[in-house]
Symmetry: D2
Subunit: 336 residues, 4 copies
C-alpha cells in the first residue's frame, strides 16, 4: 500500500473535469491523503466577503486533482473509497449568491424580478464536539448543528471529449452535492478517458437535502481516499455503496429526470448484480427506496436512489472492490 500525500499549491487547482493535465499518477491500491480548498477558493472569510466582490468567475469550486490512475481505460470503473473526511479549519462559510439557488430566479430560470440580497454566514466549527454553530445574519438566532462532513464534488473526465465546469454534475460525477458522500462510502465512476483523471473538492461541513440556497456550510477538508480499479466493468452513472446501502445517482433537469435516471439505474443494478427480474426489481424499489434529493440548484439537479442491503439477496457488485477498499482502509488506519 502506497500512501501519497498531496496538498495543491494555489496555482494547481483544476476548475473543470476533463481538459486538464494530471497532477500525479496513482495506481489501484494506493491511499491518498488530500487537502481540498472550499468552493470559494478560501476567499469568503467575513460577512463582507460577498461572492460578487471576491470571486473572479469562473474561478470557483477548485478541485484537487486530477489524478491519473494507471491502467484505467474507457469501459472500466474507478472506485474511490472515502476513508476519512475531516474539516481542515475551525470556521466555514455559507452565503447567498446572486441569481443562484432553488428559491430565486437564476440565469437558467430567469425572471424580471430583482435578485435577493447577498448575505454571508460564517460558521464556527468545534472539531472536538463535532459541531458547528450558525448565527443569524439578520436576526438574533444561534444554533449548534452536528458536523456531517462530505464532498460535494467527486468526478472523472467526461466522455465525448468534453470538459465540464466543476459546478456541473452529470454522468461523470462532478458537483453532485449529495450528503451521502461521507466517510465510509465507496463511489463508483465510469472511466471515460485513459487514466480516468479524477478530482475531488467542495467539502461541506454539513448540508441539508436539496441545498436550497445553493451553498452548503463550505470548508476546506483533509480527506483520505483509497483507489481501486474494476477492469472491463462499465458504470453509466455514479454509484455509491455503504455498509448498509447500494445507491444510484442521476443528475439532470427537470428534477423528475434526475429521479428517473437514479431509480432506473437502481432497478438495472438489482437486475444485473442481484439476480432480479427487472419488473420485480421495479416493484421492490417502489416499496423500499429511500430517495434523498442531493441538490436542486446546480446546472443539473441530482437525486440518489438507495436500496437497503438487508432486503437484497447476496450480490457481488464490482467484484468485491469494496471489500478490498475496506481492507486498505483498515491497514491505513492501523498504520497511521
Amino acid at each position: 500500500m502506497d500512501v501519497i500525500s498531496y496538498r495543491p499549491e494555489p496555482g494547481e487547482f483544476a476548475w473543470t473535469f476533463g481538459g486538464v493535465s494530471p497532477v500525479r499518477k496513482v495506481k489501484p491500491g494506493d491511499v491518498l491523503e488530500l487537502w481540498t480548498e472550499d468552493c470559494f477558493a478560501g476567499k469568503v472569510r467575513t460577512p463582507d466577503d460577498l461572492v460578487s466582490r471576491v470571486i473572479d468567475f469562473p474561478f470557483v469550486n477548485p478541485q484537487t486533482g486530477p489524478f491519473y490512475v494507471e491502467g484505467a481505460e474507457p469501459g472500466d470503473t474507478l472506485a474511490i473509497h472515502f476513508i476519512s473526511i475531516e474539516p481542515a479549519r475551525d470556521w466555514a462559510a455559507s452565503t447567498t449568491v446572486l441569481l443562484f439557488g432553488a428559491l430565486t430566479s437564476t440565469a437558467h430560470t430567469p425572471t424580471l424580478q430583482d435578485p435577493l440580497p447577498e448575505i454571508v454566514w460564517i460558521y464556527e466549527v468545534d472539531r472536538a464536539k463535532r459541531t458547528l454553530t450558525m448565527h443569524g445574519a439578520r436576526g438574533e438566532y444561534s444554533v449548534e448543528l452536528p458536523l456531517d462532513p462530505m464532498h460535494g464534488t467527486v468526478g472523472v473526465a467526461p466522455a465525448s471529449f468534453e470538459a465540464r465546469s466543476s459546478l456541473v454534475p452529470d454522468a461523470h460525477g462532478g458537483n453532485m452535492d449529495t450528503p451521502e458522500m461521507r466517510a465510509g462510502v465507496t463511489c463508483y465512476l465510469g472511466v471515460n478517458v485513459e487514466g480516468a483523471l479524477f478530482s475531488i473538492g467542495d467539502g461541506h461541513y454539513r448540508q441539508g437535502e436539496g441545498e436550497s440556497c445553493g451553498v452548503a456550510v463550505e470548508g476546506a477538508m483533509d480527506s483520505v481516499i483509497a483507489i481501486e480499479l474494476i477492469k472491463g466493468v462499465a458504470t453509466a452513472w455514479p454509484r455509491l455503496e455503504s455498509d448498509d446501502y447500494i445507491m444510484s445517482t442521476g443528475s439532470a433537469r427537470p428534477l423528475e429526470d434526475a429521479f428517473r435516471i437514479a431509480h432506473a439505474d437502481l432497478v438495472g443494478w438489482l437486475a444485473s448484480d442481484y439476480g432480479f427480474d427487472p419488473l420485480d426489481a421495479y416493484q421492490l424499489v417502489t416499496q423500499i427506496a429511500e430517495s434523498p434529493v442531493a441538490n436542486v440548484c446546480d446546472p443539473n439537479y441530482t437525486f440518489i436512489a438507495k436500496a437497503a442491503k438487508r432486503y437484497l439477496p447476496q450480490g457481488d457488485p464490482y467484484r468485491g472492490a469494496r471489500a478490498k477498499l475496506r481492507e486498505l482502509s483498515k491497514t491505513y488506519s492501523g498504520s497511521s
Copy 2:
C-alpha cells in the same frame, strides 16, 4: 369527546375532493374511527386481477368522507391528527398500471413505445410481527419488509369551486402519497369551503420514497383520527407536524416546483411562527432540511420539506392545536 365510528357502504365512497355531499357532520374535538378501502376498491385480490380488467375508471381511489366540520369556514385551518392507522386485512396488493408510474411513459409524458406489462404482486401481512412479505412475480425472490402504515390521500374540498379527482394532490391535499402521513402526525389543511369537507383514503401498508411504479402496498385501513379547527388562520399548502418535525408540502410539476413550494413554505413558516428573518430561515433550511420526495407518479408530484424541532426556537404554530389533539389522543387511547 365524541367518538364517531363510520364504515362506508359500497355506494358511499367519494371519488373526488369537492363536489360531493357530506356523509356525516363532525365538530372540532371529535374522534373518528374510520375504515378506508384500498385504492383499487378492493378489486385487486389475485395475480389475475389486472387493473385494466377489474377497474372501471374513474372508480379508483375511493375516499371515506367527506365530513362536514361544524364551524369551518374559508380562511380557517383544519387539523387532522392520526391517532392510529392499522391494516384492516392480512393481505395487500401492488401492481403496475398501464401508462402510469415514474419509469414508464404515461398519458402526460407520452411516447410511441409499447407500455410495460401489467403485473400484480400480492403481499402477505403479519400484523403481530408487523411485517409484510413480497414474493417475486417473475423470479424467485421473497423478502419480509416492515409494516409502515400511512394514508396516501388526505384532503379537503379545493378552492375556486373546483372538484378534483382523488388521484390528484394539490393545495387542498389529496393524493400526496407521502410516507410521512403516519400515526402520531398532525396534518394541517387550509379550509376552502364551509364545513371543510375532508376525506381520507388510500392506505399504504408501506411505500418507498417517490412511489416509483405508481402503486404502493395498497390495503384497507382501520384509522382513528381527531379533529381540531384553528379559526382565522389560513394555510396555503398542507403541513404536517410530528413530535420531532414541522413539515411543509408542495405538489406540482415539474418536480423542482414541488420542491420549491415545500421549501418556500417552510421558510415562510419559520419566519411567521418562529421569529426568523426570511433569509436566515433560508440559510437554516439549506443546512438542516430533510426533504423526502413523496410521489413522482401522480398528476402532480409531491415533496416534503422537514425542519427538526431541536434546531428551532420555541414556536406555537396553530395556537397549540397539536397539544390539544395529543390530549384527545391520550383520552381516546385511555378509554378504548
Copy 3:
C-alpha cells in the same frame, strides 16, 4: 338551422368547467350568437384598476355557458366551429398580475424575491382599421398592432367528476390561450358528461405566442359559433382544424410534456385517419410540424402541433363534420 342568441346577465357566468348547470339547451346544427365578457369580468378599465384591487378571486375569467348539447354522451366528440369572433368594445386591457406570468416567480414556481409591480395597459381598438394601439405605461412608446381576435378559453365539462377553474387548460380544453382559436377554425372536444356542457370565454383581441406576462389584449367579444356532434368518436385532447391545417393540442407541465402530448396526438391522428404507419407519421411530423406554443403561464402550459393538409393524403376526420359546419357557416352568413 336554429339561431340562438345569448348574452349572459352579470350573475349568469360560469367560473368552472364542470359542476355548473347549463344556461341553455342546444342541438347539433344550431348556430349560437354569443357575447363573452373579458377575463377581468370587465373590471379593468383604467390604469388604476389593478387586479389586486378590483378582482375578487376566484371570480376571474367568466365563461359564457355552459350549453347542454342534446344527444351528447361520453365517448362522442363535440365540434365547435367559429363562424366569427369580433371585438365587442373599442378598448381592451392588459396588465401584469402579482405572481402570475412566464417571467416572474409564481405561486407554483415560488421564490423569495419581491413580485413585479402591477401595471395596466389600456388599448384603443379601431374596428374599422382592424387595429389596436398600445401606449407604453412607463415610457414614451406607441404602436399600432393588427387585430387578431381569438378565444383563450373553450371547453367542456371534464371527466372523472371533476370541476376545473376556468383558468386551467387540460384534456377538456379550457384556458388553452392559443392564437390558433380564430374565426374559421373548428375545435373538436371529447365529451365527458351527458350534454357535453361546453362554454367559451376569454376573448383576446390579439396575443403573442406563449402569452408571456400571462395576460393578452383582453376584451369582450361577439362571437358566432356552429355546433356539430360526432357520435361514437372519442377525442382524447382538443383538436383544431382550419382550411389548411389539422392541429393537436397538449396541456401539461413541464412544457416538454405539453409538446409531447400534442405531437404524439398528431402522430396518432395521422395514423388513424390518414392511413400512416405510426413511425412514418413520426418522421413526417418531424419534418413538417409547425408547433406554436400557446401559453407558458397557466396552471398547465399549452402547445399546438400543426400538420399542413397540403402534405397529407385525403383523410376524412370526424366524418366530414367540418364540411357540414362550413355549410352552416355559409347559410348563416347568407341569411344574416
Copy 4:
C-alpha cells in the same frame, strides 16, 4: 474582402466546441466558403445504415472549424452572416436513433420500456425544383416538401474552460437546431475565448419545429458566411437578426426555462437597444412574440423569441454590424 474557401479533410472535423485547435485564422470582414458534412459524417446512405451499426460514438455531428477570428476577445460579440446555405448532395437522410427523440424515452428520461425500432428514411433532393421527396419506410406514402436549408449547429468555444459535445446547445450556441438559421440571417454569439473559435455544421435540408424524432433531413452543405466582430459588446445568449425580425434564443431543460431565457433576453434587448422600459417591453413581447420552438430532443431544448421590426422604434443593435455584413454579402454575390 478576402474570400477563404475551406473543405475539411475527413480527419479535420471538430466534435466539440472548445478544446480544439483552429483550422484557419480569419478576420472581421472575411467571407468564408465552407463545406459541411452531415450529422452522420456521411455514413447513413441507405435504409440498412442504422445509426447503431455505422456510427462510432462520439463521432457524430462533425463541425467545420474551429476558426480563429483575429482580434476576438472575451466580452466581444462575433457576428456570422449566412450569405447562402445550399445542399451539397442530391440526397439526404433521416432516421430514428435508439433512445433519442421527443416521443421516446431517452438516456436522460429513462423508462423500463423497449426502445422504438431504428428506421432510415432516404430523401431525394431536386435542387432545381427546390424540393425533397420523402417516401414512407413502412407504408405507401410519398410527398414532395420544399427545401428550406439551414444549419442546426453554429457556435463558439464556451466559457469556463469548458468543451461541449457538438450535440449540445447552450449559451455558446452549438446544436440549437432552429429552422430560423437560414440564409440571409445574422447570428450573434458572445466571445468567450481569444479568437472566438467558431464552427458550423449539421446542415438540414428542412426541419419541422421541435425536431420531434431528433433527426431532421440531414445533408452536406455548401455555405457561404461573412464575419464581423463587435468589440466590447457582450452577448449572453445567441441572437439572430433577419430583415424583418430580431430574435433571442434560449437553450435549457425543462422547456419552459428555454422559453424564459429567450423571452427575458428579448425583453432585455428591447430595453437596452430600443429604448423600452423593461415592463413595457414585457407587455409588447406578450402581444407580438412569435416563438418557434427549435428542438425538443437535444441535451438542452431550444426556443426562439422573435420580435417583428415593424413594431419597434429605430434601434441600432450591434453598431450596424448587420448592415456591414449585408454589404459584404452583396459584394461577394456581385463578384461570384
